[in-house]
Structure formats: structure tokens, C-alpha cells
């Protein structure tokens, strides 16, 4: 009876949390497409109409934006998956020099917001930008950068780390034994990759392709900056336009959102159907054999350097160039100025956006990590695993769609009627941010909890250790590294979050990302760049603070843990 009550309580809390954060808003999005009067409320609220669908089908802008989005997502996912795989195969077979540097840069690029990178390229390619002033390449760079190819290239560079991280993990898990076996059976190196490594990588490749496809299709940062400047409309930006024009076309925005979700769902379906029975195997051996480190290669080093120079260095240099010069007129050291930083720090609206975003990110980190810990540590494994599955499925929902759903959900007439007005307040942003990061939080913490051997708890219980002590002395130290990484992911993600912020920020209180984009759109490039750099400094400060905590508290344990990986048997 007690177990039943516990299970009912577990399900109840889970359904309330997920219902408020995701279920209710998404249902309202779907309803909005069919009941256009829902936002306004009143007697016509529940009168169904398919006018929005008809408008969408006959709107050439919507159709072309949908085609652009599908083509972009397909090309970026294909090319980034191939490039990421090649890079990581090289990384393992012919490792680059300064090996510890590259994973750090990969994570930095992975965490970098897409609009920040796209704006960096934007600033570089514009008249008087870095390319123009330093290299005199304006005539070559502008047509290439401000085109569908440029949009695809920047988005591809931004999403490349997803492929690199996934393929790296898959290659590490595979070890060297299958390759060795194939070679002793007479297979040449290329045949080993064709017949053994690639088929074994197939699940990871498909997952990579799908994640990048979904991210590319739903991306708002590149669409709202480089895409907009290239006059190449993408669905995510069109949805934003449908809502930001006056009068807002809620019905059309809902249908456009459904179309975007349809593209993502189609890719997901494709992944499920192509993952045939033959790929449903587990790598069988637990005792991985890994050869001693291969000879380091300059070729791989150069390739990695090019990737990160384009992904991180060029945007960073662009921001520095623009932020440290006045009015884009300077080109020498003598023209350097801190004027833009002073302006950003002393203008209440600008400095306020940074401090607000820091507050949001910390608040969301506390809320999301608390919920994530509760869901991951639930004693009822069935509930916990089901929730993780549900939330994993929602990873594919773009941030913009989430933002729109929140408008429909929390600005609904019936809520106003009962006096619940959280739309237009800080709370709706905190809820939206939490909903956006929760799938990642639960996934990361869930993985950390899943790695705790149940025998550890049994051993502790056998030694007479109580529940609270077990949690404090065993569980917390073991999940602390994952907790730290998740915290950083949430903080940096929320600090620069753009799509939901654009739609939901309280009037007069823009967030950092909104203010940066606003400054750029108003041609205040210097201030926008200075604000971006200040945001990066804050994100780096959080990272440094966590690394300090980590090295102080867990240094020796982490080193011991990482050294347990088996190297060559002697």
C-alpha cells in the first residue's frame, strides 16, 4: 500500500512538473492553430477554423522558408556529420599536437551560442569589417558569407562539435580490438573502416545526423542574424516575424511552428526506420584494448586549428576588433578605445541586461538542477526512466517553438479570467528557460546516476550506513562532476539564450542576448560587441570558478578515476 502511495506521489509530481513546463504549452500551441480566438478569449475562443492552414499553404514566403530550412538542415547535418567523423577518426589515428587543448576548444564551441558566432562572422564580413580592413577581401567575402552557403557554413561550424563529441565517445567505446581483429584477418586500413568501424559507428552517426538536423532546423541565432542579413528567410525567423509584426498573426505562427516541428519529426522518423535490426547490437566486450598513443601529426593539428580558428577565433577577433575601435573608422593600435565597454557598463539598460541574464541563469540553474536531481534520484526507477525518455524526446523542440508555446499558454484568456497573470513577468522567462534546459539536465544527471553501481549502495547498507549518509557520502561525490558540468551548461546556455528571450522578455527589461541583437540591428556594433565580450567574460568566470572548486575538492579523485582506463597490456 505504501509502495503504491509512493508511486502515485512520484507520478503525480512528475506529471505536474512536466505538464506545467512542457505539456500544457505545447498543447496550447497545437490548439492555437485550430482555435485562432483562443488568445483573445471570450465567446469566439473555441470556434474552430482552418484559415491559418490555408494561409500557410498559400503563403509563398512560408513555403520557401520551409524549403530553405529543410535544405539547410539536411546539408548542414550531412556535412557536419561527415566532417566531424573524419576529424575524430584522424584525432584517434593521427592525433594532433597539444592534445588536451582540442577537447576544451570543442566544448567551448559547443557551448557558444549560435547568434554570437553568426554575429562574429557578420561583423567580420561587413564593410569596414576585419576582412575588409585587414585583408582587403570585401569583394570576395561578402558575396560568399551573406549567402545560403555562408549561412550553412557558419551553422555547420557551430554544430560541428556535436558530431565531434558523439563520434569521439563512440570511437573510445569501441577500443582497438575490432580494428586489430579485422587487420589480422587481412583487411587493409580503408577496408577496416569501411567494413568494421563505420558499420559499428552507424548508430552514433545516425544519432549525430538527427541531432544536428534538429538543431539546424530549429536554430534561431543564425537565422535572425546572418540569415536575415543574407535575405535568405528561414522558418524559425519567419515564425518570429509572424508574431512581431502588428497585428500578430498567432494562427499562422502556430501553423509555421507545427511545420518546423514536422520537419524535425520527419528526420526523427527517418532515423528510427533506417536504424535496422542489424544495427541493434551491443558492443560485446567489456575489457577494451587501447593501443598506446599514436605518433602525433601536424596535418591533424593544422586541420583542428583551422576548424577552431573559424569557429572561435574569427568571431572573437571580430568582436575585439569592433569593440575596441570607435565608429569602425580605426584600423591601427592608436585608434584603440575602451569607449564601447564604458558605454555598456554605464548605460543602465545595457548593464542591466547583463546583470538580469546572470540572475536568470543562476535562478534557472537552481530550479532546473533541483528538478533534475529529484527526477534522476527517484527511487522508482520505472518513473525515472520514463521521464528521461519523455524529456529526451523534447530535446528536439526548438527554443523558438517553446517560446511561442509559452505565449499561447501563459497569455491565454482563461488564465487572465482567473487572475493568473505571469505572462510579461520574469516568471514566464524562468519557466521557459527551465523547460528548455530540463531535457539536457535530466539526460546528463540521469546518466551520472545510472553509472552508480547499485552494489555501492548495497555495500554501504551492509556496513550500516543510513539513507541520508549514503546520499551525502556516496551519491553526491559521485555525481558532483556531472552536476558541475550541467550547472555550467545551464548557466552559459541561459546567459546567451535568444529565441525564447526575444518572445518572452518583460517589457523594458531585455535580456543580454536580446540587447546584443538589438544593438546590432540598430548599427551600434561597438556596444553590441562589447556586451557580447562582457557576457563571455562572465561565462568564463563561472567556468573558472567551477574548475577551482573541482580541483580543490575533487582533484585527486578525478585523476585517479581517469587513470583507470586500460592502456596497452604489457
Amino acid at each position: 500500500m505504501r509502495a503504491l502511495r509512493n508511486r502515485a506521489f512520484g507520478w503525480g509530481t512528475v506529471l505536474i512538473i512536466l505538464g506545467v513546463l512542457l505539456g500544457y504549452p505545447l498543447i496550447m500551441l497545437l490548439l492555437q492553430a485550430v482555435f485562432p480566438g483562443l488568445q483573445v478569449g471570450g465567446s469566439g475562443a473555441l470556434t474552430p477554423s482552418f484559415q491559418a492552414f490555408v494561409t500557410f499553404i498559400h503563403d509563398p514566403l512560408s513555403l520557401s522558408a520551409m524549403a530553405h530550412t529543410a535544405v539547410l538542415a539536411l546539408s548542414v547535418a550531412t556535412l557536419a556529420t561527415i566532417a566531424g567523423t573524419l576529424l575524430m577518426v584522424l584525432f584517434h589515428r593521427r592525433p594532433p599536437r597539444w592534445r588536451p587543448l582540442w577537447p576544451m576548444l570543442t566544448w567551448a564551441l559547443f557551448l557558444a551560442p549560435s547568434f554570437v558566432i553568426a554575429e562574429g562572422f557578420d561583423l567580420m564580413g561587413m564593410p569596414n569589417g576585419l576582412f575588409d580592413r585587414v585583408f582587403g577581401l570585401h569583394n570576395i567575402s561578402v558575396p560568399l558569407l551573406f549567402s545560403p552557403y555562408g549561412v550553412g557554413f557558419v551553422l555547420g561550424i557551430r554544430l560541428l562539435p556535436i558530431a565531434m563529441i558523439t563520434i569521439d565517445s563512440a570511437l573510445r567505446g569501441m577500443g582497438d580490438e575490432f580494428r586489430d581483429a579485422a587487420r589480422t584477418l587481412g583487411a587493409q586500413s580503408w577496408l577496416v573502416y569501411l567494413r568494421v568501424v563505420l558499420p559499428l559507428l552507424r548508430p552514433a552517426l545516425m544519432a549525430t545526423f538527427f541531432v544536428i538536423f534538429a538543431e539546424a532546423a530549429g536554430d534561431f541565432g543564425v537565422a535572425a542574424t546572418l540569415g536575415y542579413d543574407s535575405h535568405w528567410l528561414l522558418l524559425s525567423y519567419l515564425i518570429y516575424q509572424s508574431l512581431s509584426t502588428f497585428p500578430a498573426n498567432f494562427g499562422l505562427a502556430a501553423v509555421q511552428s507545427m511545420a518546423l516541428m514536422g520537419i524535425v519529426a520527419l528526420a526523427q522518423l527517418l532515423e528510427k526506420t533506417t536504424a535496422s535490426k542489424r544495427s541493434r547490437f551491443s558492443v560485446l566486450h567489456g575489457n577494451r584494448h587501447v593501443h598506446a598513443a599514436h605518433q602525433q601529426s601536424w596535418l591533424t593539428t593544422v586541420l583542428f586549428a583551422i576548424v577552431f580558428a573559424m569557429g572561435l577565433l574569427i568571431p572573437l577577433l571580430s568582436y575585439l576588433w569592433i569593440a575596441l575601435t570607435r565608429g569602425l573608422s580605426g584600423s591601427g593600435i592608436g585608434q584603440l578605445t575602451l569607449h564601447n565597454f564604458v558605454l555598456a557598463l554605464h548605460t543602465p539598460m545595457l548593464a542591466g541586461s547583463l546583470s538580469r541574464s546572470v540572475e536568470y541563469s543562476l535562478a534557472v540553474a537552481v530550479v532546473a538542477l533541483s528538478i533534475g536531481l529529484y527526477l534522476s534520484a527517484m527511487t522508482d526507477r520505472e518513473v525515472s526512466q520514463t521521464v528521461t525518455r519523455w524529456l529526451t524526446a523534447t530535446i528536439a523542440i526548438p527554443g523558438l517553438i517553446l517560446g511561442i508555446s509559452y505565449i499561447f499558454a501563459w497569455n491565454a484568456g482563461w488564465l487572465t479570467n482567473i487572475g493568473l497573470n505571469i505572462y510579461g513577468t520574469h516568471w514566464v522567462l524562468i519557466l521557459a528557460y527551465t523547460a528548455g534546459v530540463l531535457p539536457f539536465v535530466v539526460r546528463m544527471l540521469g546518466a551520472a546516476f545510472a553509472q552508480i553501481d547499485p552494489n555501492l549502495m548495497s555495500a554501504a547498507r551492509a556496513l550500516g550506513v543510513g539513507r541520508a549518509t549514503r546520499l551525502w557520502r556516496i551519491t553526491v561525490p559521485l555525481v558532483l562532476p556531472a552536476l558541475g558540468s550541467t550547472f555550467l551548461l545551464v548557466v552559459t546556455g541561459v546567459l546567451f539564450e535568444l529565441p525564447a528571450s526575444e518572445l518572452l522578455y518583460p517589457a523594458g527589461s531585455p535580456t543580454l542576448a536580446v540587447e546584443i541583437v538589438h544593438q546590432f540591428h540598430n548599427f551600434n556594433y561597438g556596444v553590441g560587441a562589447a556586451l557580447t565580450l562582457m557576457g563571455m567574460i562572465v561565462a568564463l568566470a563561472f567556468t573558472a570558478a567551477w574548475r577551482l572548486v573541482e580541483s580543490r575538492w575533487m582533484g585527486s579523485w578525478r585523476e585517479a578515476r581517469s587513470s583507470t582506463e586500460r592502456r596497452d597490456a604489457v
Binding site: 587487420r183 584477418l185 587481412g186 552507424r202 547490437f281 558492443v283 566486450h285 584494448h289 597490456a569
Partner: protein, 369 residues
């Protein structure tokens, strides 16, 4: 016709995995390489199959040079060696049949011949009916057999086994030890197996090389290695043993008379000058307890282990530890006798007894008469 290894050297940082190892392995025999963890046995096997390059040395199989220093290196795919890995390394995305056929496909055998060869091997390894199963659908023994079938498919003349039975349960391991030895002998294959299990080496091998700290310290037939080891490491690796210090006091025909705790024992071993300190190798099976009144060693029993058919007794006699078997529970003090014919001794204090290295020069894995 043999596999010849000369001066094989491999270093990982400051550690020598292989230190100037020289060996000759005769064709058509099963050779075992045994040694404690980190002794270099896996490195030697990896160097033979080409998965690791030697820093120096020569490996030659028949007329084919696998490696000569840094000047010549034949990659594993061109050595035509069969290899059975510790965890089998069966390709999880391929069925049993496809795994076995993998090496034939890369050699571009015609489909009909591949099919015929796979069927042959399925029958030979008792895998009939498993052609379309995936590795995760197999039992441990079936995986092992599939791995052997895959290694044998391209018809190599040299097969390497890297602790290939270690992940199986004891009963299955015993069965497969006999099966595999019979298989290799029937196909007249040269097989080299690396193992840390002395029983496996004794059961399967025609010859055993003992390695320690990157050196081959002993090479002999299983019986010689078990009964007449040349070092403490070799003696202890091949099974439970008591090593007692003694002194040569004389010779008697072709035997050496050793003073062993006040008892004079005539032991059949190479001649040694009187006064030479020796280590006497006493296996539990060389000891017996009889009801006769003949003088023996008074052993104070310290520990008894019941092993089913008999008891393994650990006792002390004159400050030395002795292991012996009894077919009944022991008394507190037992009088133990040694079967002098089954005792062995070697000079104490040499490099061999320290287990560091064998004399310089090539060693040959050839069955001792």
C-alpha cells in the same frame, strides 16, 4: 620451418616490455607463453602478429620476414596469421557466418568457395545451426568457437591465442582446452597461446616459454618445466610448490646428494660440486605419508584445505613451508616422505633462480626427450 625471434626489444617509456628476447618456435606444435602480469607475454604476441612494432629485433616466419629492426615491417594484414582475441572481438554487426567469412571476403574468395569454407568451419567447430545468429545471441563457448573459426577460415599456418579462454567458466575452459589442442594438432597448425593459467599451458602446449620482466627465463616441455624447473619463477608459475634450500654434499652415480634439513636425499639432476647451495623443488605430488617406520620429515600441520578428492595440507618442517596431499584429514603432526625420483634441484643464487633472465642467446621451443 619455424618462427624465429631474435633480439626482440620493445619499450614503453622507461619500461622494457620485451628485452632482447630470442626464441625459435617449431612448426606444427602448440607453444604456450606464460608469465606473471606485466612480464611481456602479450607484447610478444602483439609483435608477432604485427599489432605492435618492435623497437628492435627480427621476427621471421619461414622465409617471410615480419620485421627487421626499424627498416622492415610487414603490417598484420599481410602476415597471414590467425588471431583469437581475449574477448573474442567478434564483429557485433555481423552474424556468425559473416564473421567467419570476413577474412575470406577481403581475400576475394569466390562466393561458392566462401560458402563451402564457412560450412566446413561451422561443422569443425560444432557451430551448426548458428550461421545466422549475431554474437550477442551466443553463449560464451559459442563465441569462443566462432572466434577460432574466424581465425582459421583463411587457412593460416600460424594461429595466435591471447588469453582466449580466460573469460570462460572453469568447466567450459577445461573442455575447450582439450578440443582446441586436438583441433590444432589435427590440422598440423603452429599455435602460440598466451596464458596465465599453468593448467591451460600444461594441457594444451607441446612447449612452454616462461617470461618475466621482459625476458624469456625458461623454455621447456610441460613435463620438464613442471618437474625440473630452472628458476623459482618457473617453478611457482607452473603450480603449487615448496622450494627448500639445501646443500650438495656429494654425488652418487648420476645423482646429487643434497642435505635437506638434516636428511640426505639423492636427487637426479646435473652434477654439482659439493658445498653448492641449491634450491630443491618439492611438488605436493612428490610427498607422501606412509604407515612405515622409515625416517621422514616431522611436519607440523598449519592449514588444511579440502579439495574434493584429497586434502591439501600446509605445514612447517624445520622452518620451511611444505605443501602436500593427504587422502584423509591430517593429524597435528605428520611424518612426510619425499619421492626422491620426483625431486629436483638447481643452484641457488644465480640469475635464473631470481627469475631475472635466461642465459644470452637464442632459446628453442623444441620438445625435450
Amino acid at each position: 620451418m619455424s618462427l624465429t625471434i631474435s633480439g626482440a626489444t620493445k619499450r614503453y617509456g622507461d619500461v622494457y616490455a620485451l628485452n632482447n628476447v630470442s626464441l625459435t618456435l617449431e612448426e606444427g606444435q602448440v607453444h604456450a607463453i606464460v608469465g606473471p602480469s606485466g612480464s611481456g607475454k602479450t607484447s610478444l604476441l602483439q609483435a608477432i602478429c604485427g599489432l605492435e612494432r618492435l623497437d628492435d629485433g627480427v621476427i621471421r616466419w619461414h622465409n617471410v620476414e615480419f620485421q627487421r629492426g626499424q627498416s622492415h615491417y610487414l603490417p598484420p594484414e599481410r602476415r597471414e596469421i590467425g588471431m583469437v582475441f581475449q574477448d573474442f572481438a567478434l564483429f557485433p554487426h555481423l552474424t556468425v557466418g559473416q564473421n567467419i567469412a570476413f577474412g575470406l571476403g577481403v581475400r576475394k574468395w569466390p562466393a561458392s568457395r566462401v560458402k563451402q569454407r564457412v560450412e566446413e568451419l561451422l561443422t569443425l567447430l560444432h557451430l551448426e545451426g548458428l550461421h545466422d545468429r549475431f554474437p550477442h545471441e551466443l553463449s560464451g563457448g559459442q563465441k569462443q568457437r566462432t572466434a577460432v573459426a574466424r581465425a582459421l577460415a583463411p587457412d593460416p599456418r600460424l594461429v595466435l591465442l591471447d588469453e582466449s579462454l580466460s573469460s570462460l567458466d572453469a568447466a567450459l575452459r577445461r573442455t575447450l582446452q582439450h578440443e582446441l589442442r586436438d583441433l590444432f594438432k589435427s590440422l598440423n597448425l603452429t599455435a602460440i597461446l598466451v596464458t596465465h593459467d599453468p593448467t591451460e599451458a600444461l594441457v594444451m602446449a607441446d612447449n612452454i616459454a616462461v617470461m618475466n620482466q621482459g625476458h624469456v627465463i625458461s623454455v621447456d616441455s610441460p613435463q620438464t618445466l613442471y618437474e625440473r624447473p630452472q628458476s623459482a619463477i618457473a617453478a611457482e608459475l607452473m603450480g603449487m610448490v615448496s622450494l627448500w634450500p639445501g646443500v650438495v654434499v656429494g654425488t652418487h652415480r648420476d645423482q646429487v646428494v643434497v642435505d635437506l634439513g638434516g636428511h640426505h636425499m639423492a636427487i637426479r639432476c646435473p652434477a654439482m660440486a659439493p658445498g653448492t647451495p641449491v634450491t630443491t623443488v618439492i611438488r605436493p605430488s612428490s610427498c607422501y605419508v606412509s604407515a612405515s617406520q622409515e625416517p621422514g620429515f616431522e611436519v607440523t600441520v598449519e592449514q588444511v584445505r579440502y579439495l574434493g578428492d584429497y586434502f591439501l595440507v600446509t605445514g612447517r618442517a624445520g622452518g620451511e613451508t611444505l605443501y602436500f596431499y593427504l587422502n584423509r584429514p591430517p593429524k597435528d603432526i605428520e611424518t612426510v616422505h619425499f619421492d626422491a625420483e620426483r625431486l629436483w634441484c638447481y643452484p641457488t643464487g644465480g640469475a635464473e633462480s631470481q627469475g631475472r633472465r635466461a642465459p644470452e642467446g637464442e632459446q628453442s621451443l623444441i620438445v625435450a626427450p
